[in-house]
Amino acid sequence: MYIALAFVMMARAIAEAAVMRLQQALALDGGFLSEAHYAELFSTHGTIMIFFVAMPFVTGLINIVVPLQIGARDVSFPLLNSISLALTAVGAALMMVSLVIGDFSTGGWTGYPPYTGIVFSPGEGPDYWIWAITLSSVGTTLTGINFAVTIYKERAPGMSFMRMPMFTWTALCSAILMIFALPPITAACVMLALDRYLDFHFFTSDLGGNMMNFANLFWLFGHPEVYLLILPAFGVFSEVIATFSGKRLYGYASLVAATMCIAVLSFTVWVHHFFTMGGSPYLNAVFGAATMTIAIPTGVKIYDWMATMYRGRIRLTVPMVYALGFMMLFVIGGLTGIQLANPTISYQVHNTLFLVAHFHNMLVPGVLFGMLAGYTYWFPKVFGFRLEDRWGYVAAYGWILGFMLVFFPLYVVGLLGMTRRTYDYTTAAFQPWMIVSAVGAGVVLFAFAALVIQLVRSIQGRSALADTTGDPWDGRSLEWSIPSPPPAWNFAVLPEVKDRDDFTRQKEGGAAWNPAAQYDDVELPRNRAVGVIVFLTGTLLGFALVWHVWWMAAAMLAMIVALVIWIGFQGISTETVSAARVYSVDCDFLARKRAALGKSAASGVNTVDPVGRARA
């Protein structure tokens, strides 16, 4: 669900990005967009990409994969999960409504007052921004709690922390960031709303307001946010690289330590986003140096992945191509990040396209490639068939090339002095770069089209691509030991974990795919309509707040309170799946599994033969 949402929102955000690039290509002395329209575009693009593409994508992936990796039946609180999803969807719905009714904010994804205050932006735009973010941020906090409890309390017997797969580790760290980094943005948004609606003076220019506090609070959230997004991507790459190198992850303990370091350090560097505000050199130096320390654990991670490939058997599958593209490109973005961490360099390139190039260099090869790799990697697990390869490769290489064409020129024009968020310019020297960049956007668009084609082709050819083994890649962690798609109860019998790469251990020891000694009844939570109700009331609430329809806002708030109390009076509703049913499904799978193994061994084509490979 999260991922479907991300997909829809992405389609819009991509279209916007392409329009922006085209505008800037043609924008020497004007272009085809009005300045206000361009401002709305970068604001919606940034907001959507971060909050309604990257976040739901990450959340969705964790939601699907983590319970499977830790040998659990589901996340700890399925009801809470549906409420979080509903709140995220509320935010996305508000973004979409703003397209049709009224205008969106023009203040960028950062929404700094006083520009977004009532004095300078009296319209409804910033209100859309505020409520879309506030409501979805509450959902994200709840999601974080859910994930943290799931990982703490639902691990299969024997899975100590140091036996957890890397992706689960990064999910845990992301969950921690969701829990602790979202409150500042919630607070900042509510304060801004109070300024706008009730004439409070948190961030106004007059009567003692302090606009610098907004920047402070925003980045107190904003910086951890970007690591929240990148850590699960790191987790995906860890899984992908280990699997496709056919090797244990190198330096597991180092990777865990590095992940934790990054998560904690990410709370100590936020001032680097406003070195240019005029703080004292001591303040800037402290935060600059703190920022640089993040390079250490990040570097360790990159080196660890290289060492994982070293002495491996590298299969260049589509996820692996993304992983390699990521490693090559990400270190360049990291290098420019290090430069930005120097206050004196930030003085020069802050707010220029150099900065824009830096963060896309982290977000696209880092987060986006990570999510695409994860999508390709776990797709067969979720849907029961693999994604077709050919268009997958086209897309992957298209992304890599397109990314470089779009964003490397932006480094140059940034250094040449072109500021971000400018819809036109008068310096002729910028234009060639802008044109290269626009062409790159075309390549990116094409790569995206390739993804769509790939999906369509794969669905058409799903019988040929079917994954009957449950283990299409010769995977190493528990999710590959069960059928694809997994039954509602995930594991017929909760596994007993004895090793870090427990499934590999099972395969090597011949313990994989053996029927269990005993099957038990499984209790599953029943679906309830609560999520839908929260979505509807939440969307109406946000809409009412944006348009000052007070009676509706009050009614919706009352309804939410009533809903909470009503849930409180409901019993826990579960349904029981009988042991016999679980047993028969499992036997079915094991039988199919044996048949499939026999067949692929006989035909000898290029389908993966996990067992053969593992024993070789």
């Binding site: 700890s76 609180f77 906090t141 709840l142 974080g144 709690i145 859910n146 943290a148 409890v149 703490y152 309390k153 639902e154 829990i179 602790f180 979202l182 409150p183 500042p184 919630t186 607070a187 900042a188 509510v190 304060m191 109070l194 300024d195 009730l198 004439d199 409070f200 003076h201 948190f202 106004t204 007059d206 009567l207 003692g208 307001g209 302090n210 506090n213 609070l217 107190l220 309170v561 109390i565 409180g568 009076f569 019993g571 826990i572």
Partner: protein, 207 residues
């Protein structure tokens, strides 16, 4: 022995509620994590408040000395602290399944309402004195910080009322006991936040 081993923060239910005791582990842990997130939210508002408590933030408007009453703050503090204690007694009654449970819950609810009443009285008085949030950055922060805590207490009171109904209707079922255990965490947590409020806002402002 293992049945009595604590599984979660707060008062554990132990052998008298074996099923609830086990069930509670992840519920209480989740709730505990939520409270910590809430703590950060309060921390942010506290920091904002602190950074606006200066002549610039007060913009020539009322200052703490003009609008706060130490007596009222002391009374609110005493009431809230007492309610924490009575909730403690309610928790013990719950754990040992004693009939006094409902009485202690009711006392706690009354104390909570009394606290809210006093706070409301103070706020009304401030409005009468012109100390409205629109007046200055400092007052804006005050009007978010203290009512935010008040809103939490109000939610706690509503929850208490609901639980009194549920205890009466359903008895001490697993679900009701685990909910009471979470409510007790919530209530004690609010008292911890109040320590910050009276120290930073009232005492800090009047010292």
């Amino acid at each position: 022995m293992t049945q009595d081993a604590p599984r979660h923060p707060g008062l554990n239910l132990g052998r008298h509620h074996p099923e609830a005791h086990a069930e509670n582990e992840k519920l209480m842990f989740g709730f505990w994590v939520f409270l910590m997130s809430d703590l950060i939210l309060f921390g942010i508002v506290f920091a904002t408040y602190a950074s606006l408590t200066n002549p610039m933030g007060q913009a020539g408007g009322p200052t703490p000395r003009d609008v706060f009453s130490l007596t009222s703050a002391a009374m609110q503090t005493a009431i809230l602290l007492l309610s924490s204690f009575t909730f403690g007694l309610a928790s013990l009654a719950l754990k040992y399944r004693q009939p006094s449970l409902r009485a202690w819950l009711a006392v706690t609810l009354l104390l909570g309402l009394a606290f809210l009443g006093l706070e409301l009285r103070d706020l009304v008085q401030m409005v009468a004195d012109g100390a409205v949030p629109q007046r200055s950055g400092w007052l804006s922060a005050f009007w978010v910080l203290v009512p935010l805590h008040g809103l939490h207490v109000a939610a706690g009171c509503l929850w208490l009322a609901v639980m009194l109904v549920q205890v009466t209707l359903f008895g001490l079922t697993t679900q009701v006991s685990t909910r009471l255990a979470r409510l007790s965490l919530f209530w004690h947590f609010l008292d911890v936040v109040w320590i910050g409020v009276f120290s930073v806002v009232y005492l800090g402002g009047l010292a």
